[in-house]
């Protein structure tokens, strides 16, 4: 084997490679976004095909509570972003504070969602609007719960000394990207279900 060819490369860097987990997560979230895209498309088609939408007798959706919930969730994205900035200056205490705040905001969102479910006059099987409403919000709620789990896991890990540093903080970045994803999905969902 001749290694004298021009253009031949024998680098040692191939045994190491940069941390690609964030790239992987973003690719995965693009894919997961397609799940919601499919459900949104189904919702819009059901709506377009139906003779009357929402079906006769469906009460107007209350906007106040979901509106407040939306404001809380959207703001929480800015809150968690502060943690992302703080870790770059190695301020671990600040990270914990921002994550805790995000967790509380997410929990309030879920509580609001549960309250809304309990007080709605229609159920999953009442009619097509009810079915799509519960499936879409339910699936999103499930993602919020996963996001809360991630945030809790980061909080727990941050107690280990030296786990997150300014140079190594994949967990923090991942949890916050996931949280932004959940947030963006909710904005589309809110527009489709409540406002459109």
């Amino acid at each position: 084997m001749t290694t004298t060819m021009h253009g031949a490369i024998a680098p040692s860097e191939t045994t190491h490679h940069p941390d690609l987990r964030l790239f992987g997560l973003i690719v995965f979230l693009c894919s997961e976004g397609m799940l919601f895209f499919g459900l949104f498309a189904a919702y819009l088609t059901f709506r377009a095909v139906a003779t009357e939408w929402p079906p006769e007798g469906t009460p107007e959706l209350e906007l106040l509570l979901p509106g407040i919930n939306t404001i809380i969730l959207v703001s929480s994205s800015f809150v968690i972003h502060q943690a992302d900035e703080a870790i770059k200056e190695n301020k671990l205490a600040a990270v914990r504070g921002w994550f805790l705040a995000t967790f509380v905001m997410g929990a309030i969102f879920i509580a609001g969602q549960v309250y809304e479910y309990a007080h709605l006059e229609f159920g999953l099987t009442s009619h097509l609007f009810g079915s799509t409403f519960y499936i879409l919000t339910g699936f999103h709620g499930l993602h919020v719960l996963i996001g809360l789990t991630l945030i809790a896991a980061v909080l727990a890990r941050s107690l280990k000394p030296g786990h997150y540093t300014e140079h190594s903080h994949f967990g923090i970045a991942a949890a916050s990207i996931y949280w932004h994803f959940v947030d963006v999905i909710w904005i589309v969902l809110f527009l489709l279900l409540y406002l459109l």
Partner: protein, 544 residues
């Protein structure tokens, strides 16, 4: 922040033979995982093939006399599901992709080895669910599971198991695709630009993007379907205000791209197999690379050509018809490039190239009948007839399976470190080629005569042609025997293979056969372009 891979002790007596039990463990080595995929999926191919043989036996006579018609429905449903989700998709992506991509781009492994192993082992519960449904009455509404049929089915438990099995296998497929995109994009050895990659990597990248885009939409459809089955909703049930056509859209938004997921990596295999066995550079490297990406983009916008008879409005039919016919352009670019690669080459007509050339000829037949079916006026006449069955077996068997065989023969020396028996390889090719055409060519005639698909009974006027098909199917079943014996015998006792028995130029041939656990004992060296045959390594001056 870097992940450091520990160095491996070198120089033991048989350093690179992987002990057999490794293949039954949660290994994170991409080569082990690749072979795990290839062997596992081949077992499912045999199971799916056995189901096909039973189906063809039933169809040897016009009456439904071998088994009750409900059983027959379960048989063809399972046949389709197993062949697509447990054989071709995981074999061409998980199997060849995992084994070859890191070796071809000069990487030590995939970007996420643990995720890779996880994706493979998810196939096990997924397949167990699917196979287990035989004991509760398998799903019997076709691999498409169209509602309202699939909602009103008697085989409730089987249908639910079918749904969950597909959700698990689909997730596995998504995780594998994440790995491919990140690995191909970020793990190429320094100096290897995108357009220095072997074409198999381009094809795998395109297929992975399609998996990522479309599989979640199928998951959405299946989740809604499972709520209809178990949760009392009526998404797809017209009697409850739902719309079954929405399911068809969601289903085909995945399932049409799925055919490209099954064929794009095989296009890649053929682009790798032809040049070394024709001793010529590939013709139109960039055209083939771009055409993979073009198929990836166009292929996402053609799904409703499966629904020309579903009350689709005319303007939508015309849009999807034109989009479908457009896919023939990048596909044609590939076929012409392959032919030009073969043209004037010093052909080494051994098993890999025989299956490669078999692939091109059979795939073109399937591609042409695909153009016919893509035209709404013809499709409306032959929809749900045996013409469609003939067509998709030409692309999936004559295309994908022939390509898989070409790849298996081509990389067998690299994977096992031993040569296969060429004589039995040729016997295998002849039996497969003859059996395949006897089985599937007459189906086009049956379809044009009006024989519907998915029926256990048929009009006695179709008997003779059906019997030819059945004879061909048996020949196909027999054809796997020489392959299996050859593969097992050669793997154990075959003549030891050289590192580069085909004098090929892609990177996987620069390491030992089988490769070192970390792919190269030292560092991989990029000496020439992947296809610079007869160019005296002119790559450096022309491209840098």
């Amino acid at each position: 922040m870097t992940q450091v891979i520990p160095h491996y002790p070198v120089g033991d007596a048989q350093p690179n033979r992987t002990p057999w039990w490794t293949y039954f463990t949660f290994s994170t080595d991409h080569k082990v995982i690749g072979i795990q995929y290839l062997v596992t999926t081949f077992v499912f191919y045999l199971i799916g093939g056995a189901l096909a043989a039973i189906i063809r036996t039933e169809l040897a006579t016009p009456d439904s006399d071998l088994m009750p018609p409900e059983w027959y429905n379960g048989m063809f449903t399972m046949h389709g599901t197993v062949m697509i989700f447990l054989w071709i998709v995981p074999s061409v992506t998980g199997g060849f992709g995992n084994y070859l991509v890191p070796l071809m781009i000069g990487a030590r492994d995939m970007a996420f080895p643990f995720l890779n192993a996880l994706a493979f082992w998810m196939i096990v519960p997924g397949a167990a669910l699917l196979m287990g449904s035989f004991f509760v009455g398998p799903a019997s509404t076709g691999w498409t599971a169209y509602p309202p049929l699939s909602i009103l089915t008697d085989q409730h438990a089987g249908q639910i198991m079918w749904i969950f099995s597909l959700l698990i296998i689909g997730t596995s497929s998504i995780l594998a695709a994440v790995n491919f995109v990140v690995t191909i994009w970020s793990m190429r050895m320094p100096g290897m630009k995108l357009f220095d990659m072997p074409l198999f990597c381009w094809a795998t990248l395109a297929a992975a993007i399609m998996v990522l885009t479309s599989t979640p939409v199928l998951a959405g459809a299946l989740i809604l379907l499972s709520f209809d089955l178990m949760g009392g909703t009526n998404f797809f049930n017209p009697t409850g205000g739902g719309d079954p056509v929405v399911y068809q859209h969601l289903f085909w938004f995945y399932s049409h791209p799925a055919v490209y997921v099954m064929i794009l990596p095989v296009f890649g295999i053929i682009s790798e197999v032809l040049p070394p066995h024709a001793r010529k550079p590939i013709f139109g490297y960039k055209a083939i690379a771009y055409s993979s990406m073009m198929i990836c983009a166009l292929g996402l916008f053609v799904w409703a050509h499966h629904m020309f008879t579903s009350g689709t409005p005319d303007w939508l039919r015309i849009f999807f018809m034109v989009a479908t016919l457009l896919v023939a352009v990048p596909t044609g670019i590939k076929v012409f490039s392959w032919l030009a690669t073969l043209w004037g080459g010093k052909l080494r007509l051994e098993s890999p190239l025989l299956f490669g050339v078999g692939f091109i000829s059979m795939f073109v037949v399937g591609g042409l009948s695909g153009v016919m079916l893509g035209s709404a006026p013809i499709d409306i006449h032959v929809h749900d007839t045996y013409f469609v069955v003939g067509h998709f077996h030409y692309v999936l068997f004559g295309g994908s399976v022939f390509g898989i065989y070409a790849g298996l023969y081509h990389w067998f020396p690299k994977m096992t470190g031993r040569m296969f028996n060429e004589f039995w390889g040729k016997v295998h090719f002849v039996l497969t080629f003859v059996g395949f055409n006897l089985c599937f060519l007459p189906m086009h005639i049956l379809g044009l005569m009006g024989m519907p698909r998915r029926v256990a009974q048929y009009d006695p006027q179709f008997t003779t042609i059906n019997q030819i098909c059945t004879f061909g199917a048996f020949l196909l079943a027999i054809s796997t025997i020489p392959f299996l014996i050859n593969a097992v015998y050669s793997w154990l006792w075959g003549e030891p293979a050289a590192d580069n028995p085909w004098q090929a130029l892609t990177l996987e041939w620069t390491t030992s056969s089988p490769p070192h656990p970390h792919n190269w004992e030292g560092e991989p060296v990029l000496e020439s372009g992947p296809y610079d045959y007869g160019k005296e390594y002119s790559r450096s001056s022309s491209r840098h």
